[in-house]
Amino acid sequence: MNTPALKEWPLWEVFVRSKQGLEHKHCGSLHAADAAQALHMARDVYTRRQEGVSIWVVPSAAITASNPDDKGELFDPAADKIYRHPTFYAIPDEVGHM
């Protein structure tokens, strides 16, 4: 009882991997006192409809996000480089579906 109680619980980002999914996908956020509780709550809030078979929670504060103001310099230069899409190659039949 030495730690002072938090007035606000920290925010956590929730990632869920679906049964068919290969990777965890961001599905939302929630407030929880710690990581274990965040996992519990993520189970109750985000997997009630059989959405997932695995959950990650990450402190929102641990995420470094790009600045929306930098959108132009970060992303616009890629707009006219359509040759970076592998759409100019004939795919051999042996490769099958890609």
Binding site: M1, A5, W9, L30, H31, A32, A33, A36, Q37, H40, M41, D44, V45, R48
Partner: protein, 278 residues
């Protein structure tokens, strides 16, 4: 959590559990589930925080789901037009066989009835005491001679494990939390612990079910329950009160004054509009 003994079938000599044998036992299990499910549903939309509101509603729905399966099974064995609805909505309080613990309001013994007086510590400690019992009961019932009941037990066991996990987690957080949360958690333990004495009192329905291999002798689970409860209370820095005196008899149909109000709310709609669907 794995506090069970060997995986031998439950004792008893009558492997065929069909017919009316065990109906009273099924109703005891079903009434426990439906009454606690209804009681905890009172928090829906009023939980202390959004995430916990959803969590508790999930727990409630698990209990109501268990009750439905048990009532359906009992109704099929009873025949005569019985249904899950007739058993849940058209029996009076003296016919209910749930533990008194489960019908108590969400507040201490000397608090008024306003909804704002609900105490989450009472809710959590009750769920913890009952959850610790049901993890053991359902585990034992997976070996019931009644294969239908064993199947319900296998499904319910997973739910009960989560309920216990959820409740125990909060018992520790509240007990080993702030001065106020500790005091309120201890008050809830002191208030509710005496009601757990009823778990160990054998009822005629239980005795009959044990004799026919359908049911579990609850008294045999007491040591495991004590261990589960003591471990969490110790981690939560909470103490276990000495209990003596009156033992509640809800499972014999002798209830507190609180069950009638709970059933009034739960049954009112079905009784005002019998057979209605929506």
């Amino acid at each position: 959590m794995n506090a069970t003994q060997a995986s031998a079938p439950l004792g008893g000599s009558a492997p065929n559990a069909a017919g009316s044998v065990g109906v009273a036992y099924l109703l005891h299990l079903a009434d426990n589930a439906v009454v606690l499910g209804q009681r905890n549903a009172e928090w829906c939309g009023h939980g202390p925080i959004l995430e916990e509101d959803i969590a508790l509603a999930n727990v409630s729905l698990d209990h109501i789901g268990q009750a439905r399966l048990l009532y359906q099974l009992a109704a099929a064995r009873m025949g005569g037009g019985a249904s899950e609805d007739s058993l849940a909505y058209f029996r009076d309080e003296t016919a209910f066989r749930n533990y008194t613990l489960l019908e108590l309001p969400h507040h201490g013994p000397l608090v008024g009835y306003a909804a704002s007086d609900r105490d989450y510590a009472v809710t959590i400690v009750r769920n913890f005491f009952y959850g610790a019992l049901m993890v053991l009961v359902w585990d034992a019932l997976t070996r019931s001679a009644d294969t239908d009941l064993a199947a319900i037990a296998a499904k319910s066991l997973k739910e009960a494990r989560y309920h216990l996990h959820h409740a125990a987690d909060w018992v520790v957080r509240l007990g080993d939390g702030t001065d106020e949360s500790h005091a309120r958690a201890q008050a809830a333990v002191d208030h509710l612990f005496r009601y757990t004495e009823e778990f160990w009192l054998p009822s005629p329905a239980e005795t009959e079910a044990v004799a026919s291999g359908i049911g579990v002798e609850v008294a045999s689970l007491r040591a495991a329950w004590d261990a589960l409860v003591d471990e969490t209370l110790a981690e939560a820095t909470l103490s276990r009160p000495a209990v003596r005196g009156y033992v509640p008899e809800g499972k014999l149909g002798r209830h507190s004054e609180h069950l009638g109000y709970l059933l009034g709310e739960m049954q009112g709609l079905a009784r005002a509009h019998p057979g209605a669907t929506w």
